[in-house]
Amino acid sequence: MIVSGSVLPIDKANVDTDQIIPAHHLTGIEKTGLGKHLFTGMTGGVDLLAAHPDAAIVVARENFGCGSSREHAAWSLVDRGIRAVVAPSFARIFFENAYNNGVAPVVVPEAAIDGLLAEPHLRIDLVREVLTTSGGEEIAFTLDPLRKEFLLSGGYMAFLAGKRDKVRAWLDSRAAQAGAA
């Protein structure tokens, strides 16, 4: 699968989830329709999105997605057409949420970020794990081999659902061990 599109450059570190989507927009019960709130908590966020209406790829600095566990951050990105976030590092919970919602968290070296922020357009091959700049330069990255499946095909919940019998058997053996002890 290839994500190819224009870049939303966010020249900031520590873009927390309150900046991605402020808490007063967390009042729904569905995962959809949240794109209109994207980056409304970030200084200059609304203007930035207006200047890049077709962006498909966010480029940002370190520790993207820190703070709250709200999966709304990933849902609002997806709803706005963002399919990848390129940064030197991510906060754990956002990182997991991104994989589970079809937003690729692409980790690249810090040194590459200045150049990528200036790119109008990037091409990211998620299968080959290679990012290509508009000038043709290639940057390799690594995706989690298991979560990559969830990223490309969805199915985190279905994967776990398929483990239920195994989990029950494990639980029975745990109970038996505890009983023996």
């Binding site: 906060a91 919970i93 997991e96 298991l146 985190y156 776990l160 239920r164 195994k166 989990v167 029950r168």
Partner: protein, 458 residues
Amino acid sequence: MPRSLFEKVWNAHVVEELPGENALLFIDRVVAHEITTPQGALEIERDFDDALFDPDRIVAINDHVSPAKDTETAIQAKVLRDWAKRHGIVLYDLGRNGICHVVAPERGYVEPGMTLACGDSHTCTLGAFGAFALGVGSTAQGGAMLAGCLVLGRPKVMRVTLKGRLTHGATAKDLALHVIATLGFKGGTGYVLEYAGDGLASLSMDERMTLCNMAIEAGATTGMCPPDETTFSYLRGRENQPTGDAFEAKVDAWRALVADPGATYDAEVTIDVDALRPMISWGTNPGESVPIDGVVPAGAAEASLRYMGLTPGQPLRSLTIDQAFVGSCTNSRLSDLRAAAEVLRGRSVSVPTIVTPGSQAVKRAAEREGLHDIFQDAGALWTHSSCGPCLGMSMGVLAPGARCVSSTNRNFPGRMGAGGRVHLASPAVVAASAVLGRIASPDDLPARAAVEAEAVRG
């Protein structure tokens, strides 16, 4: 092979090793609140026959906006309520509820050695009990509800050794802020912070919860404290725990949940607790914190300075404030309220001040001690329990540019309202600041008699 506390709990819950150093981790307990649960619950209802792995492992709590503030939040609460009823899940609802990280332990749902997941980043609070308590997204929480497990990459472990005791007015909150300032805002990313040392042994459960609550603010997967007599005493006689021999048998098993001598860690840091003084944040993440006597550091991030309206070298104590808040999953337990009340007793606040207990049980306990009278005599607003102003979701939102000293956990831009400026501190510092209308420690306050004489002179 000697093992850390984390390794013992982790190894006891791995159902299957998965590719990419991931594990299928069994989750003993799910805590479900109204903001992040409905999405997963509805997905299970639609796509998986509404089948939960084990409803008895779930406890539901309406906590963020309770009572509801509008139609949308009323629907969230109703979805959680209906879902809990349909599945026979225990629900703490309006009147018996509070912040989930306060309610779950006070009702005995958290114990040493368990794994626990909740769609809330401050779930790490509950690592105070020697549990592996994990904040996750709604999908992962849904997975734990559906299949009793979730996928997690095995974290590394950092031992944080606390040396000495809290003195000089320093509290567990100041310790938490100091740890984050030491590690850096993302310095704990990829790690579990396993606390150790003589400084930990002297902390109460409330203090350990405050400390672990902010592990996420260093980016950590969670924090964990080895259980000890303090932990067992907290749990003994608590509801949802067995009594008598059955409880003592559990205690015997829990005693093994300490790091083995010679256990190795991926990283180590030692904190000099004796040297701690009250802390205050100046910037836009909790790592941007200094002792209250300090100044805004040279070389501070320009964006943080601009947002907070500060300049390098500026003393924090010079800052006038517009609001004060005591509450949140960090500092809303009875001991926190006592600390704030001790400062406010016989004094008056000079800025709008909100005091929000962490649960209705905490509220009632505080009222039995008369703390509500102290707060209200001082002119503070004493509210029902909730997350309150902490995340700007319901009441107490800041105006743009307004400065608030707050016992909460996040000072992110816009956290308590667009353009609002948050300074994180302990309940005692919040209370002292509320009295003086500027950032202050309790030591800065004039003697109570003088305040009273002044009040009489009018």
